[in-house]
Symmetry: C2
Subunit: 154 residues, 2 copies
């Protein structure tokens, strides 16, 4: 655990990592962004222990990053949605993905982010390379990239 009091640490990076630094947390946000809103979908996608996932989801709801909305009453089941505060984490994911595409994806990017409106590819400053729009998360869509094709062929 990071210490909560951060002696000498008046730092927004440290403060952000205190909230979202646990690795599963960013993968949960990735899953919800890509449409995996239900517990079992996320659990399958990540292969994480159920109690760990449940704990992380509780924390993200408490922090106002995710919100729960019931989709079934009997049995009671919830879906998870990103709040605006949660959607603001999209640039963190984009930065992680960009680095991984360059340094940890030998077959090329598994996913390429494109601009929904014009189909152009988004660069690592979140700008559409075709039309120049400064994109938000709502403009973005992920499509399979060369790395996904290589994996499917293997």
């Amino acid at each position: 655990m990071l210490r909560n009091d951060y002696p000498g640490q008046n730092c927004s990076a440290a403060a952000t990592l205190e909230l979202i630094g646990e690795r599963w947390t960013l993968l949960i946000i990735r899953d919800v962004l890509s449409g995996a809103r239900r517990f079992d979908q996320m659990q399958r996608s990540m292969g994480v222990a159920r109690n760990v996932l449940a704990g992380r989801l509780d924390r993200l709801v408490e922090e106002g990053i995710l919100e729960r909305r019931p989709y079934s009453m009997n049995p009671p089941r919830d879906e998870y949605f990103l709040t605006e505060k949660g959607l603001d984490l999209w640039p963190v994911l984009v930065a992680l993905i960009s680095w991984g595409d360059k340094h940890a994806a030998p077959d090329g990017p598994p996913v390429v982010i494109v601009h929904k409106e014009c189909g152009g590819r988004m660069n690592d400053r979140r700008i559409c390379e075709r039309c120049g729009k400064q994109m938000t998360v709502r403009d973005a869509r992920g499509v399979p990239g060369p790395g996904a094709v290589a994996q499917a062929a293997a």
Copy 2:
């Protein structure tokens, strides 16, 4: 621990988190970027246990993110520098800082990143708001922001 084999996870975000997802790791990179290159400086800055810091530094050197250069032979002491692969993590830090500035810095940003050349403020797409330059890590300098002033006054 994240599983290393990532069943069903062909994902650059997951791959990046596997390398740098541990929270101290990004704080080490922050410290080295801000000039804290020596073990004792980092240890003081972070208040992290020495064995944990030593392990993280070893891992980052193995991964080619940091490199060691001796600055003293007797006793033997090293400084740490970011490789190009390590410098490529700057956008991840920028994204974490931007989110923290907005959601976890009640007194305002502790640090503001400015463009060395023109003094303009950098926005969260790493573009200088004064001259429009698409900035790299080498163009950037951190200066105390409103949050740092508030802390100093308290």
